[in-house]
Symmetry: C2
Subunit: 295 residues, 2 copies
């Protein structure tokens, strides 16, 4: 009764335009599909440069294409016969925009979507300017290959998000991401940041006995407002198993189609050996609903 799924993640850099970037993505999806991938995962806001590098209201126009983007990626999923996790800039109404993962079935139908719940904001990552925090909660998306716990980037620092997906029966945690280094930081500082990023996610995998995939972009992108010296997106997309064991990791500077098999039933077996879910103290977790408990 084992259920093995062949998965591909696509780690990419931004090309000179959305059109060129999307064409490259489509080529890589076709390659992955030919190699047998049943589920293909794209990085955060994969159609474009990481425009949140500064605050510019002109960028809201990019979301005008949300409906067209959906039709486009629906066709890509259908043509390749794969379940496809995309990450798009959603226009919901003028003044309400979301950072949204849209998941397509292999027949092109929308399986579901997830609107990024935790929104970051720090120099070079001005997401609170662009995105209204999600209002769909932490709901895994049922697909023909399994129940996908799709979260996005900043969510990966919050154990609550991973846990809620697990409690809803997710088979896997999936994080499209755009994270990188600043040139000003030392190599030691950069390694510390990268390690923390990997380790916090290993923690979610272990605590929930779920495989976990992070898909990050690569390459340097400049700030056209020249407030910062750009971001070096650090790649290093990876997949870990339900005990946090590293299964495969991409390079820090190259585009890659990374293929791997995941057995979606393995987590259930681990939960018999390490039965954390049996013992949660749900009678004593109420304060998790608080921002802080003042003295």
């Amino acid at each position: 009764m084992l259920k093995k799924v062949k998965i591909a993640l696509i780690q990419q850099s931004f090309k000179s335009s959305k059109q060129e970037t999307v064409q490259k993505t489509v080529n890589m999806i076709e390659k992955a599909s030919k190699e047998g991938a049943q589920l293909i995962l794209l990085q955060e806001l994969h159609q474009d440069r990481y425009f949140c590098i500064n605050e510019d209201e002109a960028n809201f126009e990019k979301a005008d294409d949300f409906e067209k983007d959906i039709i486009f990626w629906s066709n890509v999923a259908k043509k390749n016969g794969v379940v496809l996790v995309t990450s798009l800039f959603e226009k919901r109404a003028v003044g309400i925009y979301h950072n949204t993962a849209v998941v397509f079935e292999k027949d092109g139908k929308i399986a579901g979507k997830y609107r990024k719940m935790h929104i970051p904001d720090d120099p070079g990552f001005y997401e609170k300017f662009y995105f209204t925090p999600g209002d769909l909660g932490f709901e895994p998306i049922q697909t023909s290959v399994g129940k996908l716990g799709v979260l996005i980037c900043w969510d990966q620092w919050f154990p609550e998000a991973a846990r809620l997906m697990a409690l809803r029966g997710a088979d896997i945690l999936i994080y499209p991401t755009a994270i990188g280094w600043f040139d000003e930081d030392s190599r030691v500082e950069k390694e510390k940041q990268l390690d923390a990023w990997i380790n916090v996610q290993k923690g979610h995998a272990i605590a929930n006995a779920l495989p976990l995939v992070a898909i990050n972009r690569v390459g340097k992108e400049l700030d056209d407002k020249k407030q910062i010296n750009g971001i070096n997106f650090w790649g290093d997309s990876f997949v870990v198993g339900p005990q946090g064991e590293m299964i495969k990791q991409a390079s820090e500077d190259k585009e890659e189609v990374m293929l791997f098999d995941i057995n979606f039933n393995e987590n259930k077996e681990i939960r018999k050996i390490w039965p954390f879910f049996r013992d949660r103290r749900v009678d004593s977790y109420t304060n998790l609903n608080k921002i802080f408990i003042d003295n």
Copy 2:
């Protein structure tokens, strides 16, 4: 305004008796104190062998000494002028026993206690037979060196426990532990278990921007009922910083007094750079109070 604290953890094996084991611990505390330790951390149920290796009602007698144990360790803390985190078998009433950390001030007064909230139970670790789950919640203990987020062993697999301590203002997470390998497992499997144990705790450190210490026992202990072939407690006590970076790690098979400095204010600085606490979606965490969400 930096606040550096010198900490010692004591990683020990069980001797032939409680008396001999306790004497060794006292000697190691004196050594640590002479080297300047202000806060000394002991492993889980450090006075004795890990008696939960099987279910034997005769073991409840061990808890009859709880009040005597408190007087004893109070005197040790006072004599050495250190804040001391002990891990004792608490008799509360006949039929109600707890796995309890008692924290002593450097003047010997009780600073507070924590009763283990998450209780494990699997072959060789029959804790549900011995311990009533704690009813004091997740409350850090205020001491003269800082606010100690003391949790115990199995708690370390639950992100909720670490988070609740952080929301209550803990300066550090501290896990007295008794975890080990079975001889039957391969070296690869053993490494996977050890790595998962370290990584899940690194995850708590990172998600909460808190330093974290785990204190484990070493040495093989046999099962006098011969149901299992004993447990090889794997040592590897460690301390990580608030980005999950390994600061120091003990051996897997030797007794050690491990000394290190921790700056209890460093976490606050990290929280400005990585402001996870700002962005928690407390409006959407209610389901964390559920055991599972059935379809």
